[in-house]
Symmetry: C2
Subunit: 273 residues, 2 copies
C-alpha cells in the first residue's frame, strides 16, 4: 500500500478540493490516502508554511483560491520548491468568464453565504429529522417526497441526502404487523416512493446491523423468511398505493437519491407548467 | 440578470461536477444559473444528444469522465459543435498519475462504492437522527461529539453535517427551565461543544422561524430579553462544564463544522499517540 498525501488548500473551507480529490484518488488501487484540509488561507505566510510542510511530507497541494494574487504566489512558490500543486478553480473559471462575459467577484467563501437557499436547506434538514421513521404522520402531507419501505431500505439516509438538496422528505416504515398511516392513501401518489431490495441483500445488511447493535439473539429480524414476508407485504401495499418504486440493491444513497430528485424535478416542472 | 446554463455530465452521479460548478458560479454577480445533471453517461449516443441540447440552450458542459475513450470523444465532438466543455478530472488526475507512479483504474462510480466507510457514514446519520434534540441522553456517552446550545444555534444541521463526515454527533438543547441531563457533567468535556450567537442574530432568526411556523403569538420566544436570559444561562452552564465554545453568528454550517472537525481530529490524534 502506497500512502498518498493531499493538502487541500482553500480561501474558503476546502470542501470542493476535498470532493474532487476523493473522486480522483478513488481511481487508484493499492494506495491509501490522507486529505488534510487547510481552510481560510488568506496570507502569503500561510502558503509558505503549507508548501514547506508539503515538501517535507511529499504531499500534493490541491487548491481553490479565488484571489488572483494569492493563487499566483502559490503557483510560483510551489514550482520553486518542486511541490506539485493543482488549481481546481481556474480551469473552469477561465472558460466561464469568456462564456458569461462578466468579471468574477473573486471573493472567498461565496458558496457558503446566507441566502434564502441556505435557510431552506436548514429547514429541510430539520424537517427530515422531525418526520423520520413515521414519528409524526403529518409529515406525509407536508413533505415534497415521502419514502416508504421495510427496515434497512435506507430511508433515513436518503431523506437526509434529499434534505441537503432542499427537498423536504419524510419516511414511513412498512411492517406487516402495523397498518400504515391513513394519510398515505390520501396523499398524492406521485410524491411517494416505495423502496425495496433483494432479500439476500437485506439479509446481509440486517445481520450486520444486529452484530453492531449486539443483538445476536433477535434472529427472526434478519432471517430470510421474515424478510421475504415483509417484502411481499410491502410490495402489495406499494401496488395498492400506485406509487413509484426503486430497487436499492447495490445502489449507493447518492445513486438512489439522484433518481428520486429527477422524478421530483419532473413533477415540480409539470406543476409549474 | 443573465441566465447561465451548465450541463454537468458524469459517468457516475455528477456530484463532483455540481459542487465545482457551484463554487465557481457563485463568483459571478448579476447572473442566475441552472445546473442540469446528466449522470451515468456511458455511450457516444448519450454524448451526442447532450452536445446537441447544449448547443441549442447555449450551455457550458462540465464533465467528470474517467473512461478515456468517452472523454476524448466528448472533447472532440464539443469542439466540432462549438460548445464549451470543461474536464474537471484530468487536470488533477494527470499530475497524480505522475506523483503516485501508478495507473488509475478508470472505472466510473468508485467514489460511491460500498466500503466500511460507507456503512460508517450511514450509521452516523442514523445516530444523529436518533440522538437529536436530547431525545435519548444515552447519546451523550456514545457520541464522538456532543453539541449543546439554546434554540436556533443550528445544533441539528451541524450534527447532520458531521454525520456526513463519519462523526457520530448528538445534541442537547439548553433551556433555563429544564436541567441539562446529568450525563453531560460525567462526559469527557473535550468532546462537548457549546454553541452561542449574538442576541440580535438569534432574535432575527427566531422571528423568522415563528413566521414560518405561523406562530405569531408566541412572542416571548423571539424577544431579545428572553434570548439574553437564555444565553446567560447557557454561558454559565458551558463554563461549569469547561467545554469548548463557538460563536455561530454569521457562520455557515460548513464553517462551524470545519472548526469542530479540526478539534475532533486533534483529540482523536492525541488519543492514538
Amino acid at each position: 500500500m502506497k500512502n498518498v498525501k493531499i493538502f487541500a488548500l482553500s480561501d474558503s473551507i476546502g470542501e470542493t478540493s476535498e470532493q474532487v480529490s476523493k473522486a480522483v484518488l478513488e481511481q487508484f488501487d493499492e494506495i491509501d490516502y490522507d486529505i488534510k484540509l487547510y481552510p481560510h488561507v488568506k496570507t502569503r505566510k500561510q502558503i509558505d508554511d503549507i508548501i514547506e510542510d508539503a515538501k517535507k511530507e511529499n504531499a500534493v497541494i490541491v487548491f481553490t483560491l479565488v484571489v488572483v494574487e494569492l493563487r499566483d504566489y502559490l503557483i510560483v512558490k510551489s514550482k520553486t520548491h518542486n511541490v506539485t500543486s493543482v488549481d481546481l478553480i481556474t480551469p473552469l473559471l477561465t472558460p466561464l468568464i469568456e462564456h458569461i462575459g462578466l468579471k468574477p467577484k473573486r471573493e472567498p467563501g461565496l458558496l457558503h453565504k446566507f441566502d434564502e437557499n441556505y435557510f431552506r436547506k436548514m429547514d429541510a434538514i430539520e424537517f427530515a429529522v422531525k418526520y423520520d421513521d413515521g414519528k409524526d404522520t403529518r409529515g406525509i402531507t407536508l413533505a415534497d417526497v415521502v419514502l416508504i419501505g421495510i427496515s434497512r431500505t435506507s430511508k433515513t439516509p436518503l431523506c437526509m441526502y434529499l434534505a441537503n438538496k432542499n427537498i423536504k422528505a419524510a419516511n414511513i416504515p412498512l411492517v406487516p404487523e402495523v397498518d400504515p398511516p391513513e394519510e398515505l392513501m390520501k396523499a398524492n401518489a406521485g410524491k411517494i416512493v416505495g423502496l425495496f431490495a433483494d432479500p439476500e441483500y437485506l439479509n446481509r445488511i440486517r445481520k450486520e446491523r444486529l452484530k453492531v447493535l449486539g443483538l445476536r439473539d433477535n434472529a427472526s429480524y434478519a432471517s430470510l423468511d421474515r424478510i421475504i414476508k415483509e417484502l411481499e407485504y410491502a410490495d402489495r401495499y406499494i401496488k395498492k398505493l400506485g406509487c413509484k418504486k426503486i430497487d436499492i440493491t447495490n445502489k449507493s444513497i447518492e445513486e438512489t437519491a439522484s433518481i428520486i430528485i429527477n422524478w421530483h424535478n419532473d413533477i415540480a416542472k409539470k406543476e409549474r407548467e
